[in-house]
């Protein structure tokens, strides 16, 4: 008896298109054989592994199994989309820390910056050496961001901390390592949860547990804009008078959330998004400082927020304590979660792929970082996942750099992984 076969048409959005042609594919084939077929048809010099999407579902079994599961008849023509497959992530290095690492950034050249719960900001080079560290805050730093600037060797860092302030610090890492606290941002009456800068580096958003979102510019004031509290400990301050950051007041206070704001990001120069424990995601008009749009979910306190990959504008992804990552589109008049990625534990952080238009990376409290392809929505299983540390040490922050370098920050320090993005 001849093996059953399926008529199939291959499509792709990758740079390796096939001529439109009908293939008869044996039903017993799975991903590997299909990938070989596509590679042969393309006659590539270097074979590229492909993954295959069938009706938005990533093919993980044989074609026959998929057809029986989805009740697809043998005669139906399958439209198979092939995507470059994600190679299994490889561990590059492990950088242990004394304390939990709350945030990591890989954006600097040849450097990893980490913010830790002991209030220190650290810099590592690619050879796993700590090149610089500085105690920015006395309280745990919950989040930081690198404010884009034009200067090559000095970088402006904004940090958010439990000590109710955010701070702008100028650091120089290249030769003469210098740390210069520029300004402390005074607005919030509760610990800050996140800080974000816009792409031009002119503005900063801070989100705090008191339900406020602060909008700041990055201009360092000449004098204190906020008076010092009339406390008696003036002697201490005197000592570090010359190094003391200027106290800075916000440009605007965005006030609508009724509970802790857990994350705030810029969309563009004029709009920003924030998510909160009150189960809402709000978009803000930064020119007027008003809430432009609100997405209300039911009983889904959001933990962090990220813009969706470049394929979907006006769309955000947010993690929530009900162990899901949800995608919301602000253009939708009645926004519902268009996509839900279910985790086995609380997802704490999320980052979009810098290059790939459909991939995101999430870190969860069970210690696993997962890469998701937003096209493969049906199965809602990650494309790849890895655990930077043994046990269930929590992941608190992730960052993804162009080139497939992923920094995973958390309870176990910093893990650096290489994620194959497909050539």
């Amino acid at each position: 008896m001849a093996p059953a076969s399926h008529p199939a048409v291959f499509t792709t959005q990758s740079p390796y298109p096939l001529p439109p042609q009908m293939f008869m594919i044996p039903a017993t084939w799975s991903r590997y054989q299909l990938s070989q077929l596509v590679n042969k048809a393309l006659t590539l010099a270097k074979p590229i592994p492909f993954d295959f999407l069938l009706r938005g579902d990533l093919l993980k079994t044989s074609l026959a199994d998929w057809c029986t599961q989805n009740a697809v008849g043998e005669e139906e023509t399958l439209e198979i989309e092939y995507i470059e497959s994600v190679l299994p992530p490889q561990k590059m290095s492990d950088l242990p820390h004394d304390d939990w690492v709350s945030a990591v950034s890989c954006q600097l050249e040849q450097r990893f910056l980490t913010a830790s719960y002991d209030g220190q900001l650290r810099a590592f080079d690619y050879s796993q050496h700590q090149t610089w560290s500085s105690a920015i805050h006395s309280a745990p730093i919950t989040s930081f961001c690198i404010v884009p600037s034009t200067s090559a060797d000095s970088h402006l860092i904004a940090t958010a901390s439990h000590d109710l302030t955010a701070q702008l610090t100028e650091i120089t890492l290249a030769t003469a390592q210098k740390t210069k606290p520029l300004a402390s941002l005074h607005l919030h009456t509760a610990p800050l949860s996140s800080v974000a800068a816009n792409s031009s580096g002119s503005q900063i958003l801070t989100a705090s547990w008191d339900g406020l979102v602060g909008l700041w510019d990055t201009v360092v004031p000449e004098t204190d804009e906020v008076p010092e509290p009339a406390a008696g400990d003036r002697k201490k301050r005197r000592k570090i008078e010359e190094n003391k950051p200027k106290r800075k007041a916000p440009l605007m206070v965005l006030k609508s959330h009724t509970a802790r704001v857990s994350g705030a990001v810029f969309n563009d120069e004029k709009t920003a998004y924030s998510c909160s424990f009150d189960s809402t995601i709000r978009s803000w008009d930064l020119e007027h400082g008003v809430c432009a749009n609100t997405i209300t979910s039911s009983e889904r306190p959001f933990l962090s927020l990220s813009l969706a990959p470049s394929s979907a504008p006006f769309t955000v992804l947010a993690t929530s304590t009900d162990r899901t990552i949800s995608q919301y589109d602000f253009r939708d008049p009645h926004p519902l979660a268009s996509l839900t990625l279910t985790h086995p534990a609380t997802p704490s952080c999320i980052v979009r792929s810098p290059r790939h238009p459909h991939q995101i990376l999430s870190g969860a409290y069970d210690g696993a970082a997962r890469i998701w392809d937003l096209r493969s929505v049906k199965g809602a299983t990650p494309v790849a996942s890895f655990k930077p540390w043994d046990g269930d040490k929590k992941i608190l922050g992730v960052d993804w750099k162009i080139g497939g370098v992923v920094g995973v920050a958390g309870e176990g320090g910093l893990g650096v992984w290489k994620v194959g993005e497909g050539a």
Binding site: W100, S102, Y117, A139, P140, H162, D163, L164, T189, A190, P191, W209, P229, A231, A259, R260, F277, E299, P301, L303, T321, D322, R323, A345, T346, S348, Y365, K394, L396
Partner: protein, 751 residues
């Protein structure tokens, strides 16, 4: 002459009958008689002509006419009758025929003027029958053999000889039987010495005799009774006989007496044995099966066996054969639960059907039945067990509630007490090693750690939002601690509250409780800003509870007098014991969330006091042997009390002193109970290591009972030294639960 054959025929048929009746010896004279009658024929035929033809009519009409005319024509016909008599006498020749067949006379009726036929009256005198003797031979009653040798047989009326009729030989006799149809109805007349045809009456008499009937045709055995004496006017007034009643009618019969006495004497002397006993040896047999015994109810008739169906056939249709799945399901079922006790099996021929494999077993169970089972009707309740379960909404519709462990915080010792800041962001947890950890709810990172001497007995965050501090209860002391990273305004306010520059005036009655604030210079985030020293030997504070306004605080110590209950007022820096003496060991105290009421739980009772009026309001009796935990609903109308004997009692405070509902679902002692301040949830933790989360909706409508729905059992704590989850607390604004266990872990359970 045309009518002759007919009359002949008639004679012949009658002769047949006679031939059957009489001996054939008479047949020869009959023959001769017939021959003779031919001579007289013209005479007779003239009269016979109408007679024969009309015979049936006349017979019937004469009867009816006689009756019909009856009385009407009696007198009219008088004359005619006499006329007829004359005519009859004159016409003597025809008398024979006339008697048998009376000839009607057609006359014109005087009345109607129409012609009518009148029959002659038959006179019922003796002579009237002389017509039968109208033979010519008047010889009388002499033996006829006197004339045997003579040519005549006698003499007629006129003395002339009556000649012997000619008699044919045997051949003539035969011919006459063949030719004459009336020959068989004729009989030999001795007087005339010839055969004479029998009349219709005679034939009828013969027929009747044959049929055993009364020979007289006119006799009616069933004629109607003539009622001579009944009916009006016919009664007999006088008795028919005036004879007196004979004596024998009333005198006892002597003869009978003698007869009876004879029997009596015989009985007395034993000659007659009355009712002789039946033979004793004869056995009595009873049909025990057919006749029901009267003392018992009739036995139940055996149920009719069901008719076999197609599936019981040895060769059932294919659709009756079970599939593999059905067979497996059938085999998996308990034999008692099976719908059928066989599986259809297919055999191609009846001879291939094996022996009944369950024969022995069936016999055995039958024996068991007879031996063990009482012959009673088994009453089986056919209740679907699912209908007994109360209708509860599905837990999915009652979201959110905590359903998974989001993170875990680990202590070295038993995490006995936990408390969550009023804004729901921070958790403090204390263990038995004296360590108090402050960590944020969502990340679980310890931010600050304090070390105290001895066990931590209780921890509680001040519910005020404008200040931020918490109280730690250790051995004989309460420490007031300010957490780090509070806004400066809050910090200043807290400091001024706990360590005011000007102390409030000391109360009149000195309290054994000392409020101590260390000097400002030694303040540090690691030490307490205020310490309340409870009286010595008061032991470990088991519980600290705040009034919702955050000014009053009550603590319960394990030892000491006054039940160990102390009421502390922060602003006045004053402590007092609310009870001089209290019955039973106080387990827990609680402030009513809205009213100035105070709940005090002793081992078995919960008492409610009104603090402003200082009196006992109510005593609740939960029926628990040892109360371990208690919490009051945020509305203040409901109280839950848990005990070490695993019971949980829900009290509706407006309803009764008795519990509205008693739940027992934990397998070990209940350790802690907590109502969520905003969500309709409560949780209970137990020594079995499980936390159970309930939906508890309370309605404003007093008529509606509270709805309690079990939602989730949270497992994750390990039982250590027989202790499970020691305390549960809810996050203020989220449906999140924090639980401290004896295994040293503090878990956060998120929705």
């Amino acid at each position: 002459m045309a009518t002759l054959p007919r009359s002949k025929k008639r004679k012949q048929s009658s002769e047949d009958v006679v031939a059957a009746v009489e001996a054939p010896a008479f047949s020869a004279p009959v023959q001769s008689l017939e021959m003779l009658s031919d001579d007289e024929g013209p005479e007779e035929t003239a009269s016979d002509d109408g007679q024969v033809d009309e015979f049936p009519e006349i017979d019937g009409a004469s009867d009816s006419e006689e009756e019909a005319l009856g009385d009407d024509e009696d007198e009219e016909d008088e004359d005619e009758e006499t006329d007829e008599e004359d005519f009859e006498e004159a016409d003597s020749d025809d008398s024979l025929d006339r008697d048998i067949f009376p000839k009607p006379k057609t006359i014109i009726s005087d009345i109607t003027g129409q012609p009518k036929r009148v029959y002659p009256e038959i006179e019922p005198d003796y002579d009237s029958d002389s017509s039968t003797e109208d033979t010519q031979n008047r010889v009388g009653d002499v033996p006829m053999h006197w004339y045997d040798d003579l040519p005549h047989v006698g003499y007629d009326m006129d003395g002339k000889k009556v000649l012997r009729p000619a008699r044919g030989d045997e051949l003539d006799k035969f011919l006459s039987t063949v030719e004459d149809p009336s020959a068989w109805t004729s009989a030999f007349d001795k007087t005339a010495q010839m055969d004479k045809p029998l009349s219709a009456e005679e034939l009828d008499i013969i027929r009747r005799l044959y049929a055993n009937e009364v020979p007289d045709a006119s006799y009616d055995p069933y004629e109607p009774m003539t009622e001579w004496f009944t009916g009006k006017g016919k009664e007999e007034i006088m008795p028919l006989s005036a004879a007196p009643e004979p004596k024998r009618r009333w005198v006892p019969s002597k003869w009978e007496k003698q007869k009876v006495m004879k029997i009596v004497r015989a009985i007395r002397q034993g000659r007659i044995i009355s009712s002789k006993p039946k033979t004793a040896s004869k056995l009595d047999f009873y049909s025990i099966w057919s006749e029901p015994s009267t003392s018992h109810a009739p036995p139940l008739p055996a149920p009719k066996p069901r008719l076999p169906t197609n599936s019981e056939s040895y060769n059932p249709p294919e659709e009756y054969l079970p599939s593999e799945a059905e067979r497996a399901e059938w085999e998996a079922l308990d034999p008692e639960d099976r719908e059928r006790d066989y599986l259809p099996k297919k055999h191609s021929a009846l001879r291939l059907v094996p022996a009944y494999d369950r024969f022995i077993k069936e016999r055995f169970s039958r024996q068991l039945d007879l031996y063990l089972a009482p012959r009673i009707q088994r009453v089986k309740l056919n209740i679907d067990p699912s209908t007994l379960i109360p209708k509860l909404p599905s837990p999915q519709s009652l979201k959110p509630f905590p359903n998974y462990k989001s993170l875990k915080f680990t202590h070295s010792g038993r995490a006995r007490c936990i408390s969550i800041s009023p804004d729901g962001a921070w958790v403090i947890s204390g263990d038995e090693g004296g360590v108090v950890s402050l960590w944020e709810v969502n990340v679980g990172r310890e931010v600050k750690r304090w070390k105290f001497e001895g066990k931590i007995g209780a921890l509680e965050w001040c519910p005020r939002l404008d200040v931020s501090y918490f109280v730690v209860g250790v051995e004989e002391a309460l420490h007031f601690v300010i957490p780090p990273n509070v806004p400066s305004s809050v910090l200043l306010l807290t400091q001024s509250l706990l360590a005011p520059t000007t102390l409030p005036p000391a109360p009149e009655t000195p309290s054994p409780v000392k409020w101590v604030t260390p000097p400002t210079s030694s303040w540090s985030p690691d030490t307490a800003i205020l310490t309340v020293h409870l009286p010595p030997s008061s032991g470990l504070p088991k519980q600290i509870t705040w009034h919702r306004r955050g000014d009053y605080m009550a603590s319960v110590s394990s030892g000491g007098t006054q039940g160990g209950v102390w009421m502390h007022q922060i602003t006045r820096r004053h402590s007092q014991a609310p009870f001089k003496k209290i019955r039973g060991a106080v387990q827990l105290v609680l402030f009513h969330p809205l009213k100035p009421h105070f709940f005090v739980a002793t081992q078995q009772y919960v008492r409610i006091y009104n603090l402003s009026e200082q009196k006992l309001l109510k005593t609740l009796t939960p029926g628990i042997k040892w109360i371990s935990s208690m919490d009051v609903h945020p509305s203040g109308d409901h109280l839950i009390v848990g005990g070490y004997d695993r019971k949980l009692c829900w009290f509706d405070l407006e309803l009764s002193d008795k519990p509205y509902k008693i739940l027992r679902y934990h397998t070990r002692a209940i350790r802690s109970l907590a109502f969520h301040p905003t969500y309709p949830l409560f949780a209970s933790s137990s020594d079995d290591g499980a936390i159970q989360v309930f939906h508890s909706r309370v309605y404003n409508d007093l008529m509606t009972d509270p709805l309690i729905v079990p939602l989730k059992i949270l497992r994750g704590h390990t039982v250590k030294d027989g202790l499970g989850v020691l305390q549960v607390k809810w996050c203020a604004r989220q449906p999140w639960l924090v639980s401290g266990g004896a295994d040293g872990t503090v878990g956060l359970w998120c929705s």
